[in-house]
């Protein structure tokens, strides 16, 4: 049986760990709330944009932007993978990478090569090991992500698509379902899926300044960017809630360990006392 002193130091060290995990849990909880607000704040932009694009696409059937064209032959594909910068958030990133790798198998079977665009330090660490072809990368975005920091990274991929270097572009992100559940999701980003919405069927004769092509070009680029940006903001919310849950279970585990150790400590103490008494009694009897 371990001696009393050993158990006592063990309890002290676990208590310290518990303090840290508890603090991290609370920090993650408050950050999650802010991240969720930010996530909701990004929604109107994408919704409005989808509306405008819908109108324009309906009004301009003669101009086909490359983003809207589905290419039959696929020679190379691109993946944008959104991960977090830091760990200690349960299986969030690992699950995401698993989903990505699984989705990529269908291309690898057909000997189609894959280009990567990695957002977040964890994705870089993971895909570096596979000697993957990383086209662009960004990390250390912090909790408050600005679109500004993402433009270059996304543009590298969008340009590759426009130039015909890649024929499909996928987005791998975590979907925030609620604070307990986050699910990895692989969705096609380009070509943009045409939305058949009856509400958009009526169209107006717009005046375009400078011209339809320029306006549609800049709209579609921004739209693709805003989807990725939304994914990144959502990922921050996912990261925080996953961390909160992971830290909560770590604190609970530490609590269980402490109560077990305290029991062992008390037993050891009792045993020591009993032994001492029986030694004294035994000694007295011998005299």
């Amino acid at each position: 049986m371990a001696n009393e002193k050993e158990i006592r130091t063990q309890i002290a060290s676990i208590k310290n760990t518990q303090k840290i995990t508890k603090a991290m849990e609370m920090v993650a909880a408050s950050k999650m709330r802010k991240a969720k607000d930010r996530m909701n704040a990004t929604r109107p932009y994408a919704a409005k944009m989808r509306n405008v694009i819908g109108h324009l696409a309906n009004a301009n059937t003669e101009y086909n932007h490359p983003f809207l064209l589905d290419r039959d032959e696929v020679k190379r594909v691109g993946y944008i993978i959104i991960s977090s910068d830091r760990g200690l958030c349960g299986g969030l990133n690992v699950n995401l990478f698993k989903a990505a790798v699984k989705d990529m198998q269908q291309w690898q079977e057909k000997n189609i090569e894959i280009d990567f665009c990695l957002i977040g330090a964890k994705a870089t660490q993971f895909f570096k090991k596979f000697s993957a072809n990383i086209v662009s990368q960004v990390s250390q975005l912090g909790d408050e992500v600005h679109l500004d920091e993402l433009i270059g990274t996304i543009k590298a991929m969008l340009d590759a698509y426009t130039d015909g270097k890649i024929d499909r572009l996928y987005l791998v992100e975590n979907e925030f379902i609620n604070s307990m559940t986050q699910e990895p999701k692989v969705s096609p980003l380009l070509p943009l899926a045409a939305e058949d919405n009856d509400e958009l069927k009526h169209h107006w004769d717009y005046i375009y300044e400078p011209d339809a092509k320029t306006v549609l070009d800049s709209l579609l680029t921004r739209y693709a960017e805003s989807i990725v940006y939304q994914g990144v903001v959502e990922n921050v919310a996912c990261e925080m809630s996953a961390r909160m849950v992971a830290m909560k279970s770590a604190s609970d585990n530490a609590g269980d360990l402490i109560s077990d150790l305290e029991l062992a400590y008390n037993k050891a103490r009792q045993a020591a006392i009993t032994q001492e008494i029986s030694e004294i009694v035994g000694g007295a009897a011998a005299v």
Binding site: T42, S136, P210, L219
Partner: protein, 142 residues
């Protein structure tokens, strides 16, 4: 008639909603020159330059919003401004894309720098796994 003297305006950026409400006029820095939009304006789509958006609301003081470019869309009764949050220019975007590519190359080269952190992290994960294992064993033994 109310619908002839007012219209709805939404100003949104990728990061948040900036304005939403009923207005009587809006002035915007369009790419081909400043435009003023009054109710019953003909449908229009135009790019915006960085500049000031002036919003007039009946019986209230004018509001000013800064936009760093974007798109303005006018539909009957509804005006939408999709505002950029960043200053955009073709060559500026190009530079940013190049930067992102360089970062990717550096990340591949820089095996050493991250190595210690990655190794430490791997060890931490292993230690945590072991702890959980011990915990489980203990529960079974009970």
């Amino acid at each position: 008639m109310a619908e002839n003297t007012t219209m709805h305006l939404d100003v949104v950026s990728a990061e948040k909603e900036l304005f939403s409400g009923t207005i009587s006029a809006v002035f915007a820095p369009a790419q081909m020159g400043d435009v003023g939009i009054y109710p019953r304006h003909t449908p229009l789509v135009t790019g915006l330059r960085p500049g000031e958006l002036k919003i007039e609301v009946e019986g209230e003081e004018d509001q000013y919003l800064y936009v760093s470019g974007g798109i303005l869309e006018v539909q009957p009764g509804v005006v939408t401004v999709l505002s950029d949050t960043a200053i955009r220019a073709e060559d500026l975007d190009e530079a940013k894309a190049l930067e992102a590519k360089q970062r990717a190359e550096e990340a591949l080269k820089d095996q050493q720098g991250d190595f210690d952190a990655a190794k430490a992290q791997a060890e931490l994960v292993r230690a945590a796994e072991q702890l959980r294992m011990i915990e489980r064993m203990r529960k079974i033994r009970k």
